[in-house]
Symmetry: C2
Subunit: 478 residues, 2 copies
């Protein structure tokens, strides 16, 4: 062979290595002296997360040793006790449980579905939607009417009578942010059964909420609204691939009969808890910055990205403060909310108690959009505070946090909303999120350690800045 | 149970959905009329990629039906023919093979390694480094000297004589861009054997190049430089977990003996090809914008992220142009380069032929940093063109392309460098890349369809802008 010169090979490595150098958006000489301090402290938070982070091992424990933890389940209560112990171990100044009654829906036996076409039985991956009633114990059979939206179902009107309505609206994959695509479809899942029962449909099956074509049914919550209980009809999700196949088969066999069986039921409300721990503020201990995610999850998988990552990242914010001896001026309160998935009872109880106790919440940060690589924050605050948060972009952009945008925060801190509080949602990259969302494959192995830790550090950095700059006396209302 | 109100549940969904809305950084009313046309065309490129993209299925075929394709291997030649057919099927105006002789290193039998401590045999995941010689056929045994860098090895000097040198320099995980961490370590892998052979070491083992602690040896190229052939010593990579364990065991048993066996060899150079196809320019057909990745890969996995994603994304640029009836002014030439991994012979041959044929290359774009979610582009060009590319940020940022930075482009287009050409490297998120890099798990299932397609569209958008704005007569030199 010709001699491979050192130069030739090294040059290729050199290009690979040096050209990736990512400089902060703003050179350090454009920072004020105070910003330089902030820049150094933020770097230190990231360094600690990336070299001494604990969130990944916490998440492994939660997801693999407890697993899925639907509100009211034994696993959810195990997770509550686990969380309390963990918060104590991290050394928070105080840790307590906040009681809350939660809905208690149970899935029952594994669901079953199929249809027969040209003599061939096709099994369909299916799962009941949260709060759905069961089918009769021997299942439900019916002809299928396919629609793409709630509006289309309403237009069909009486033609739905006695049918199983098949909602097959797909994600709009041209939307770059996948949560927008979810927003465009999820109404079918949430309200499909309510709408169709009014026209006498006997059941509803919904295409799973996902960007891709896969074999996993994606569960999620639904509601019957104010219709009488005797008009409730069962609702389930089928995998996106099954939806594509069924739609195709209906073109040639419009009268095919679909069968599904599920034995889910809603039991009486169960006692549960939000898990709360805090680092007391040194200057304004009565002023609270709340940081949280939700501890409950759906039952099918391990609740890894939804929202195991959010709770371990929230606690890691406190860990990173302690590890770096950062003593916050305000109280940093970590909350693992219960029951985000089907009721947000924990969130409501937390806000209600805060009001009753005249607590002063100056800011909130929630992580409930998965544990993927950081992209930014969504800010729900008045104009002045929104601008202040946006002004930190030069400090945050070097860590991939470019998207500092006006928007909502999250379902669990949302009830704290008032004119003065600054609520923020952590926004990781959304591309992979709905691959796993509410399925059996939302498992620990889908989470990348560095991406998780970068998220913790991103959140800690924002909390550091909020603690330092956000609070002024005139902004706070009890 | 308490009634779950529609409002309560819907509000949580509403927050999740609407608050993620990601607006373009610059509102459309701040765009010029020409930029509005560009914005519309770019959106259309993304829409097509995300709804009619082909790259994912192409990648499935390449990785799962051909697999790893090291230069000189039968798989590499199969991949060449596959690529030629594929380019024709996409409908490129002309497709051809460019002959190039490539190094032909073969791994031989699966490598083996272990050491014994306190009577316990510990097997070590190991693989030979590219271009390494074999051990003796019955393997190599020796005491181990651990060092953390090439400098430390040089300082040890004669103490390395007769030893197996263990390079255990780990990635600096505090570096946000993982390619920088790679750059800080890869010298051990590339030059470790050369440096240590000069001091009479008998072999080298290197900690795998990765951020994490895992069980996969990560291969990669090395070089003996100008040392005489009889002084060559075998070099291999061990998994990062094995490196941690071995380092620990050496603390208590500094005289433990390490055994490894490999049967790799370098055969005579083999004939191979770059695969080239182009869309002829309508106004300046003699001016070329080259877009490419590398077709070869290491042999251990399927060469998915390195660099199957790069070649299918490059071809998808042409597919997206055709599908949207975009007729470029300049010629868009897609190149699947051969032999990036161990020699960059394809890159050199391509540049050499371009020079000999007086071809005019106005720009180049390379994708060789994995198929993860888009982050930006690294620009290697003169000041004027660098500024021009940076000025497109408002058009690109809505797609997550915030990082438009001065830097290198890539190993395969790098040899085309001159004062006038604009060379650009596509830069996806780097966090997961070294989880898979050069291992048996760089496989198709690690690639996310949307992330891959977003990359194709990102590249197509940049090529669209370069084709429209970059070229002016006074910038071009043959």
């Amino acid at each position: 062979m010709k001699k491979i010169t050192l130069w030739a090979l090294a040059s290729s490595l050199f290009i690979a290595c040096t050209t990736e150098t990512k400089k902060p958006e703003v050179a350090s000489n454009t920072l004020s002296s105070e910003e330089k301090i902030d820049s150094t402290n933020i770097k230190q938070l990231f360094n600690t997360a990336l070299t001494k982070g604990k969130s990944y091992e916490w998440l492994r424990d939660l997801t693999q040793n407890i697993g899925g933890r639907l509100s009211g389940s034994p696993e959810a209560e195990k997770a509550v006790l686990w969380s309390k112990e963990l918060m104590k171990n991290v050394g928070l100044d105080s840790v307590w449980l906040q009681p809350v009654m939660v809905p208690h829906w149970v899935r029952g036996e594994k669901e079953e579905a199929y249809y027969t076409i040209n003599g061939e039985k096709k099994n369909v991956p299916i799962c009941a939607l949260g709060f759905s009633i069961a089918t009769p114990s021997n299942g439900l059979t019916g002809e299928v009417v396919e629609v793409k939206s709630l509006d289309e179902a309403k237009e069909m009107g009486d033609k739905l009578k006695g049918k199983i309505v098949f909602f097959n609206g797909a994600f709009d994959n041209t939307l770059i942010n996948t949560f927008q695509a979810y927003g465009g479809c999820v109404g079918q899942r949430f309200s499909g059964a309510r709408v169709c029962s009014e026209f006498g449909a006997k059941g509803v099956i919904v295409r799973s909420m996902t960007n891709g074509i896969d074999d996993y049914p994606h569960t999620g919550t639904m509601g019957y609204g104010d219709i009488p209980k005797e008009q409730y009809i069962p609702a389930a999700a089928i995998s996106s691939r099954a939806a594509e196949l069924l739609s195709n088969d209906l073109k040639t066999n419009p009268n095919l009969e679909f069968y599904f069986k599920q034995s889910c039921e809603t039991l009486p409300d169960a006692p549960s808890h939000n898990v709360i721990g805090e680092i007391k503020g040194t200057e304004n201990p009565e002023k609270i910055i709340v940081v949280g995610g939700h501890l409950d999850s759906w039952d099918l998988g391990e609740g890894a990205h939804d929202d195991g990552t959010g709770v371990v990242q929230s606690l890691e914010v406190a860990y990173l403060f302690k590890k770096n001896s950062i003593k916050p001026k305000n109280t940093i309160r970590i909350v693992f909310f219960m029951n985000e998935e089907n009721g947000t009872r924990g969130a409501k109880e937390y806000a209600e108690q805060a009001k009753q106790n005249n607590e002063i919440h100056v800011a909130g940060l929630e992580s409930d959009a998965g544990g993927h690589t950081p992209r930014g924050f969504s800010i729900d605050a008045n104009g002045k505070n929104t601008q202040l948060v946006k002004s930190w972009k030069k400090l945050l952009a070097p860590y991939g946090l470019h998207d500092l945008i006006k928007g909502g925060s999250g379902a669990d801190i949302g009830p704290l909303k008032n004119d003065e509080i600054t609520l923020v949602g952590y926004r990781p990259d959304s591309q992979r999120y709905f691959d796993y969302h509410h399925t059996s494959i939302d498992t620990f192995d889908k989470v990348n350690k560095r991406e998780l830790e970068l998220g913790s550090a991103s959140m800690a950095s924002l909390v550091y800045l909020m603690d330092k700059y956000l609070y002024t006396e005139d902004k706070v209302k009890p």
